[in-house]
Amino acid sequence: METSYETIIIGGGVVGSSIAYHLSERKKEGILVLDQKFPLSGTSGSTQAWVWVHNKTPSWYAEFNMYSAELYPYLSKKIGDVEYKRTGGLSPFFNEADREKALLLAEAYKKIGIKIKVLSREEALEKEPSLNPEVAGATYSSIDGNVNPFRLVDMYMRAAKKNGVQYSTYNKVTEIQKLPGKFIVSSRKGTFVCNNLILAGGTWSRELGKLVDISIPVNQLRGQILVTEPLKPFLHYTISGLRQAFNGEVLIGYSMEEEGFNRATTLDVIQETANMAVHYVPQLKKAKVVRAFSGIRAMPEDGFPILGNIPGIENLYVAATHSGVTLSPLIGTLMTELILDGETSIPIDRYSISRFDLAIR
């Protein structure tokens, strides 16, 4: 393997692989992706993978997600079938207090051009007859959908490799040295030199930050998911909380726990998740659960993506975010623009790491 690259990306998850692919569309040579294990072994391999816009607040953040969702059909055309389906999204609610909130949300979104509807009980049941008849209503948006995260990362990788990107897996980065005009990246399998360095380590971003003496405030937030046996297709929409995949499995879960890097599944959350499933869609009672898995969200301290260059260190970039599946096409596009053109087509200043204290405490 070469030792000298134009750009090195640390992290081959959905974010790093999207950046690698988008960069390689315009610049075919000199890109290396390093991963301490294997792409999909991080959060990108254990996610619900909704491509989700509606209910995100503030509305400027929803807007950012919408731009990304809009790139998906085009992305599938470019890199191949990633089992993306724009199903439309439904968030059911079971009490009237939530209708108030839903109406406020619809109002706020209207101003930025995201259309969501607040459905009555009857309208919700008409759309999704399997919902619990006790539902009070739902918010609905047509832009939401879901994707197969395994295929997505695999296709990003294949397309990137076709464009000349190299991947080196089972290759943990242990040290980073900044010299004038270049970085020296030491890893388990050797030392590499590059001009541009992108940190896309997801939930490990804090550790990566330490290697360059800055603080990247990304925390861990565990989520547990139940997967059913393949059922014949019966859910039409991506329902916030559960969705039916192409192969008929239903993925259920929307839990959040601060448990650090602990990827165990626990009976209490499994039971709560089962309760949610039968509360939302009663006929799931008889469906068999084939497995429970958990993933660790990369959660920036204030919940919003950390994107862009790192002030004070030339040619060093970071991309760490929750909702990385939804945001990956947009993040790949914008990071490519930033690196190659020095500016982005959609402003990302709001997501700059400079909003935090950069010093390591």
């Binding site: 406020l104 080196s168 726990e257 039971q271 709560e272 008889k286 497995r291």
Partner: protein, 109 residues
């Protein structure tokens, strides 16, 4: 083994598909699982487990005893959701998406 031989019966994954992931650097069952879905079906890798270990061993030379087993996932054998459900409708770590919508002074933030 024949290239077209089915290794994972639940997901119909062939020898050839597994070989490809290994040639791209995969070293353990879980890497192959995530890339191909081999072992994700209803039997949860009970059938393909040792076959996959053998292929990894043959292709990489890693001794069989050093190849980690696939991660076993609850509930090991499929059970009905209603067996797990307690029918409580109060949730602590499980949220609804609307819970996440933040209001400020009676307005969406």
């Amino acid at each position: 083994m024949d290239k077209t031989m089915i290794i994972c019966r639940c997901e119909e994954i062939s020898y050839e598909e597994i070989e490809e992931v290994i040639s791209n650097g995969a070293k353990r069952f879980d890497d192959i699982k995530r890339m191909t879905r081999c072992g994700m079906g209803p039997c949860q890798s009970k059938i393909c487990n040792s076959l996959v270990a053998t292929i990894i061993h043959e292709k990489t030379g890693i001794p069989i005893h050093e190849i980690p087993l696939p991660r076993m996932r609850m509930p090991i054998s499929p059970i009905k959701l209603e067996t797990l459900a307690t029918n409580s409708t109060s949730f602590s770590s499980v949220k609804s998406v609307l819970d996440e919508v933040e209001l400020e002074d009676g307005k969406v933030r």
